[in-house]
């Protein structure tokens, strides 16, 4: 064996922060959920919703004296994929969603389709135009065509800022809340306070380690998204970093508040879910908040994760500047600072 290792005496804030970092990095599950999971999720969802050439619309033609001519006419439109079926089979296929429209065997034909489905309505227009044209109708003019599929408008582009926001919320709340409650439950908080550890250092170490973890956590997801999925960053990198920091701080504040009183993991888990589930649903992680009715918008827009997601999307996808994101940033700052102040007031040390 070598000489016994010399142990340096470091400042308490550094020691407390190191302890947090060591605890987290020695927990393989934590490393997975913080660093790997968001990337895996982005990759899977990005793959599932990747942009691809438009699929032709499947339609059925009921077998009859005109079916061959109609099939030929419909086949000329590249946006349609017609097939011939017996009447009962055709309607079954429509009911099951295998085809989006059925052309009857009558002359003139009638179209069976579901007008609440956009694909069905599109098929009706295309089928009707193709059949009318083959019956002799001529186009009054041939329109020009411009196809737009620019990066930044894909689902994965919408998704990545939302995932980043969700991750900042999850790790901020769990990272702080869980470790504080474990420490309280095991009398460690009390013991630290009994030894001359400053309360500000104990909580400061939680925040410091949280912000240090932000760098690899947000960095990994953003680098992956930008270089492998081609998600754009149109605004300033510094602003993006600033928004992430503010978001991490705001959710650390909420985490501190949630963990200010509970003595047990069960207790804090319930509270965490109470705080986070509404934001998972309403804050526009996976789909736009505009889908919610107008009456709910004041609630939806007041949520800190909505503000964070909007700000992240603004800077990444729209290239928004600091001034135009000020309302979102102010809302985040209010959430964070109010949570901190209240948490410190009601914090249970033993």
């Amino acid at each position: 064996m070598a000489e016994p290792a010399a142990y340096a005496v470091r400042a308490p804030l550094i020691e407390l922060t190191l302890a947090r970092i060591r605890e987290l990095t020695r927990e393989p599950e934590a490393v997975f959920w913080v660093f790997v999971f968001p990337i895996v999720l982005a990759a899977i969802l990005g793959l599932a919703f990747r942009s691809r050439p438009p699929e032709p619309l499947p339609v059925a033609v009921v077998a009859g004296p005109h079916s061959q001519a109609r099939l030929a006419a419909l086949s000329r439109d590249a946006d349609l994929k017609p097939r011939e079926l017996a009447a009962t089979d055709a309607h079954l296929a429509l009911a099951r969603g295998h085809v989006v429209l059925v052309v009857s065997a009558d002359d003139p034909p009638s179209y069976a389709y579901d007008p609440t489905q956009p694909e069905s309505r599109a098929a009706r227009l295309a089928v009707d135009a193709a059949l009318q044209r083959s019956a002799g109708r001529t186009d009054a003019f041939a329109p020009g065509r411009t196809e737009l599929t620019e990066p930044g408008a894909r689902y994965v582009d919408f998704l990545v800022p939302g995932l980043l926001g969700m991750n900042l919320m999850g790790t901020g709340m769990w990272g702080i809340g869980f470790s504080l409650v474990v420490a309280r439950n095991g009398n460690l908080l009390k013991r630290l306070v009994a030894a001359p550890a400053r309360r500000s250092h104990i909580l400061g170490a939680q925040l410091t380690s949280r912000l240090l973890f932000l760098i690899p956590e947000a960095g990994a997801l953003l680098l992956f998204a930008h270089f492998l999925l081609g998600v754009p960053l149109r605004g300033s990198v510094i602003l993006l970093v600033g928004i992430s920091l503010l978001g991490a701080l705001a959710f650390s504040g909420l985490g501190l508040l949630t963990a200010a009183r509970p003595r047990t993991i069960e207790g804090v888990s319930g509270l965490m879910n109470l705080v986070m589930v509404p934001m998972w649903i309403f804050s526009g992680i996976f789909f736009s908040t505009e889908r919610f009715p107008a009456a709910m918008q004041p609630f939806v827009q007041a949520l800190p994760l909505t503000a964070l997601n909007d700000a992240l999307r603004g800077v990444m996808l729209e290239g928004s500047g600091f001034v135009s994101l000020l309302p979102e940033l102010a809302l985040l700052a209010v959430w964070g600072s109010v949570s901190f102040v209240v948490a410190l007031k009601i914090f249970r040390w033993q």
Binding site: Y7, E15, G186, L188, R191, L192, A194, A195
Partner: protein, 316 residues
């Protein structure tokens, strides 16, 4: 507030009262711990020992009463006073995935002065475990780690709350050796325990605490001597013969100083076993009562507690 604080007292309190709702934890407790002594608070669970110590440690505030620790009083966060204290709580769960040396290093960082981490680990016989995760330690090793964290700031006064509860005899002796080493350097220790052996082994003076009050105070030897008899004879007789044995008969036996009975078991406090036991056996034989068991032992602090309260320490 004026009071007669003794200059060489390490801890001093008067009239401590504390209630938790309807439960009275402390009912006017007075205590003085002198510098350089090892002072024990002996009492059953719920006697108010932990509440008292946590008031001394500045972790609880008494409803009323005066407390002075190392000539100082608790105000604000009391960081300056804390730096002079070593505090071990009844149970602390240190982070499982930290190494032993890291935990001690963490606690060392809170104190303005103190021992080097490696020296501290040597003192509590954990050098071999310096790089081990807390999770891998045995109960006794965890307790010594906890002691190391209390001692690493080289405190003037060490508080130990039930330091060996739940430990095996060997770990208990190891803990005692560490405390004795600390005491040998002229430092002060205040410990609570419900093990009479521990109080007898470690403590210069012992306060017997029950229902939030000190009911006896002195050196272990003085307390045992206060029984007026150095030995205890315990016996029982078969139920059929029980009516034949009465307290007055037993009291009349030679050398017997005290008699207690508890559901058919008799306890005699006696000065000389060799005189009392033959007389006892003769008296029982005369009444046709065969003892179903009979034991004798030297009087202990447990007997002091029983003589004072009629209960055993462990009964709580």
């Amino acid at each position: 507030m004026d009071h007669a604080s003794v200059p060489d007292s390490a801890v001093w309190c008067k009239g401590l009262c504390k209630r938790y709702g309807d439960v009275v934890a402390l009912a006017g407790l007075d205590l003085e711990v002198r510098r350089g002594e090892c002072f024990g608070m002996l009492g059953p669970n719920g006697a108010g020992k932990t509440t008292t110590v946590e008031i001394f440690e500045g972790l609880r505030v008494p409803d009323s009463g005066d407390v002075e620790v190392l000539g100082d009083r608790w105000r604000g966060d009391g960081l300056r006073l804390r730096a002079r204290l070593g505090i071990q709580l009844q149970e602390t769960k240190f982070p499982e995935k930290l190494r032993v040396s890291e935990v001690v290093g963490l606690f060392r960082s809170f104190y303005p002065r103190g021992l080097a981490v490696s020296a501290m680990l040597a003192l509590v016989a954990l050098e071999e475990k310096a790089e081990a995760y807390v999770r891998t330690l045995s109960g006794g090793q965890k307790q010594r780690l906890s002691l190391a964290c209390a001692l690493v700031g080289d405190p003037e006064l060490l508080f130990l709350d039930e330091p060996t509860t739940g430990l095996d005899p060997q770990s208990r002796r190891q803990t005692w050796e560490i405390v004795e080493g600390f005491k040998a350097r002229g430092r002060t220790v205040l410990l609570t325990t419900h093990y009479m052996e521990e109080a007898a082994q470690l403590c210069d003076r012992v306060a017997v605490v029950d229902h939030g009050k000190v009911i006896a105070l002195g050196t272990p030897r003085e307390l045992i001597a206060s029984l007026g008899a150095e030995h205890v004879v315990e016996f029982a007789v078969a139920d059929s013969a029980a009516p034949a044995v009465t307290e007055s008969t037993l009291r009349a036996l030679p050398s017997v100083e005290g008699v207690e009975s508890d559901t058919g078991n008799w306890r005699l406090r006696v000065r000389e076993v060799h005189r009392a036991v033959p007389a006892l056996l003769a008296a029982l034989a005369e009444r046709g009562a065969q003892p179903t068991h009979l034991t004798t032992h030297s009087a202990t602090l447990e007997d002091v507690f029983m003589a004072l309260t009629g209960r055993r320490l462990r009964d709580g």
